[in-house]
């Protein structure tokens, strides 16, 4: 165990370590049942002493014109894995799923993946061009776009490489790292269909290419059916302007499909009669199978779920009543059911879905359970309204081999030990 962590309280210990990997048995030694009705030995100073915040005036309304979380939540941050990439401009960080609840990801905690750093686009100079197989090649300003009929939709965005480091076996201790390339946000935007109709599609329009204005000039091909179905050109997330790292001032929303397609800093849409086979749909985001061949255009994200608490960064602390919670999502439709096992898949119970359960959005599930210190092997299994059932990792590998990188939606296992410590394992 990390020597310097000695003497820190449990919270800052976890924050300092950022995961359960180095969490020694000692940290969880104080497990108690603490029944609600038990009598306190001596009066609690948190009650008997007047706290500073109860006596002195706090900061005034002008102190934080743009609010931020309590200083006691400073450990709740996105984190990156330095060894993953050569540099930080083309890299990724991860959402701290184990610290969140409900279905909405706060804007500041939405994971980031960019290929040429964060573009700081001046909205007054931002233009969206539509060219190619259209009756009129058009240019829009942000003002133009904000005068079009808009809509609000909650969708998850999951990177196709989420859980990609786990293809060969359990690697990272923490759902932030194994599953944190997902966020769930309410977008405000204009249906792409409206923009395309404004330009007028030619009859041979079959694909569009969306392109970003960043230093990577990110480009992806999208079939015209999807473009006309539910794609949005979004300028707000969770009510406020897109964050710069999420594509300010404009990004495309491609519901249920892999995050790489949701091009940020969107500056151009070209309409064509065939796909472009851009670098991000050939060199990357193709799924290499065991026979050496590769699937292409594996756009949709299959149903998936993960238990976020307990998990390696959020071990169990108390015997007795506990809340198990997690999230489930499907790019093919709506989550209909999530089952949870505590005994490694021998027996399953159906979890309680709570909060809005929407198509192509994260759904929140709970299992309220009683824990007496026995070893647990926790898994969750999502189902969607197409009848798809989240497969085990073994079932996935049987079809796809070990080199696939992308689209790992296999069932995750957390081992909870007698001291509450939780680790990422794989089981038979």
């Amino acid at each position: 165990m990390n020597q310097t962590a000695k003497g820190l309280d449990r919270r800052s210990l976890l924050a300092a370590l950022g995961g359960g990997a180095a969490l020694g048995a000692g940290a969880a030694a104080g497990l108690t049942a603490r029944p609600a009705a038990a009598a306190a030995a001596k009066p609690d100073p948190a009650i008997t002493e007047v706290q500073d915040w109860s006596r002195f005036l706090g900061e005034g309304v002008a102190a934080h014109p743009y609010g931020k979380p309590s200083k006691y939540e400073a450990h709740v941050v996105k984190r990156d894995v330095e060894w993953l990439t050569a540099g930080r401009e083309s890299s990724v960080n991860f959402t701290p799923l184990h610290e969140l609840d409900g279905i909405i990801t706060p804007n500041g905690l939405c994971f980031e993946r960019h290929h040429g750093g964060i573009a700081e686009v001046d909205p007054a100079k931002h233009r969206l061009m539509i060219n190619g197989l259209v009756d009129r090649q058009l240019v829009f300003t942000m003002d133009d776009i904000k005068r079009m009929p808009r809509t609000n939709r909650i969708y998850f965005l999951e990177c196709a490489a989420n859980s990609g480091m786990e293809w060969r076996g359990a690697q990272l201790n923490g759902c932030q790292f194994t599953h944190g390339m997902i966020h769930n946000v309410m977008y405000t935007g204009v249906p792409l269909r409206i923009l395309l109709e404004e330009a007028g599609l030619k009859t041979n329009a079959k694909w569009i290419m969306v392109e970003g204005g960043d230093a990577a000039g990110m480009n992806r091909s999208i079939p015209i059916e999807k473009a006309l179905d539910d794609c949005l050109i979004a300028f707000k997330m969770n009510g406020e302007a897109l964050r710069a790292e999420q594509g300010y001032p404009l990004r495309i929303v491609v519901p249920g499909w892999e995050g790489n397609m949701w091009v940020k800093w969107l500056r151009r849409i070209e309409v064509g009669d065939q796909p472009w086979h851009a670098r991000e749909e050939t060199s990357k985001y193709t799924d290499l199978l065991a026979d050496g061949r590769s699937r292409r255009f594996t756009f949709v994200m299959d149903a998936k779920s993960v238990v976020t608490n307990p998990s390696p960064q959020a071990p169990l602390k108390f015997k007795g009543p506990n809340v198990l919670t997690g999230m489930a999502w499907s790019g093919r439709g709506t989550i209909t059911r999530v089952d949870v096992t505590l005994d490694g898949g021998r027996n399953w119970r159906t979890a309680r879905l709570d909060g809005p359960v929407l198509p192509r959005s994260v759904a929140r599930f709970y299992v309220d359970f009683d824990w007496q210190g026995e070893e647990l092997m926790i898994q969750s299994r999502a189902m969607d309204d197409t009848g798809y059932v989240q497969p085990t990792k073994a079932e996935l590998r049987a079809v796809r081999g070990l080199n696939s990188i992308y689209h790992n939606n296999g069932i995750q296992t957390w081992l909870v030990r007698a001291n509450g410590e939780t680790e990422n394992v794989e089981i038979s």
Binding site: M129, Q137, R267, A278, S283, F299, N347, G387
Partner: protein
Amino acid sequence: MSRFRKVFAAALVMAATAGAAEAGRLGLGREALPEEVAAWDIDIRPDGQGLPPGKGSVKEGEALFLEKCAACHGEFGEGAARWPVLAGGFGSLKSAAPEKTIGSFWPYASTTFDYIRRAMPFGQAQTLTDDEVYALVAFLLSMNDVVKDDFVLSRDNFTSVKLPNEAAFYLDDRETAEKHFWRKDPCMTACKDKVEITGRARVIDVTPDDKDKSMKVE
């Protein structure tokens, strides 16, 4: 503004958008000028659509690559430090460590042109001339044994270049190949006898804050 002029201005605006409104459109945005489309329309497709006039030789490409690219990608495209490898990797795709390069993996040469033109050199995007991009693509093709050392790549011969792995790609077939993942009534009780732990993340121990471990993944 006088009342009359206001009404007049309103009538003008309505006249301007009437055509769009009749067609069920909003009449927002304006027509893009040809120069504007030309400035932004930089994409290249496998059928050659988008290729600009120009040409470049393997030899020219080699000099450019050494000057502008080799610091990250290595002199022969073999990759310096942890920057992407651009050449080699043949026969590695079925192995435990597949090396996906332009020659071993990419289906189309046009992707190389499209990507270098828009994104490279990293941090100096869109600084290369069209002839320079032709030369760099020619050099990378030669490093991948796709063309000879004396090859000159141009708009005219571009689509004759074929990459060896093109046929290995096929469309998403999950709905048939993984049909068994759509199953009714998954097992709920007594689903298996015993459970054994087969792998642990802590054995690999690469979770961040473990500073000296380094691994390479994509």
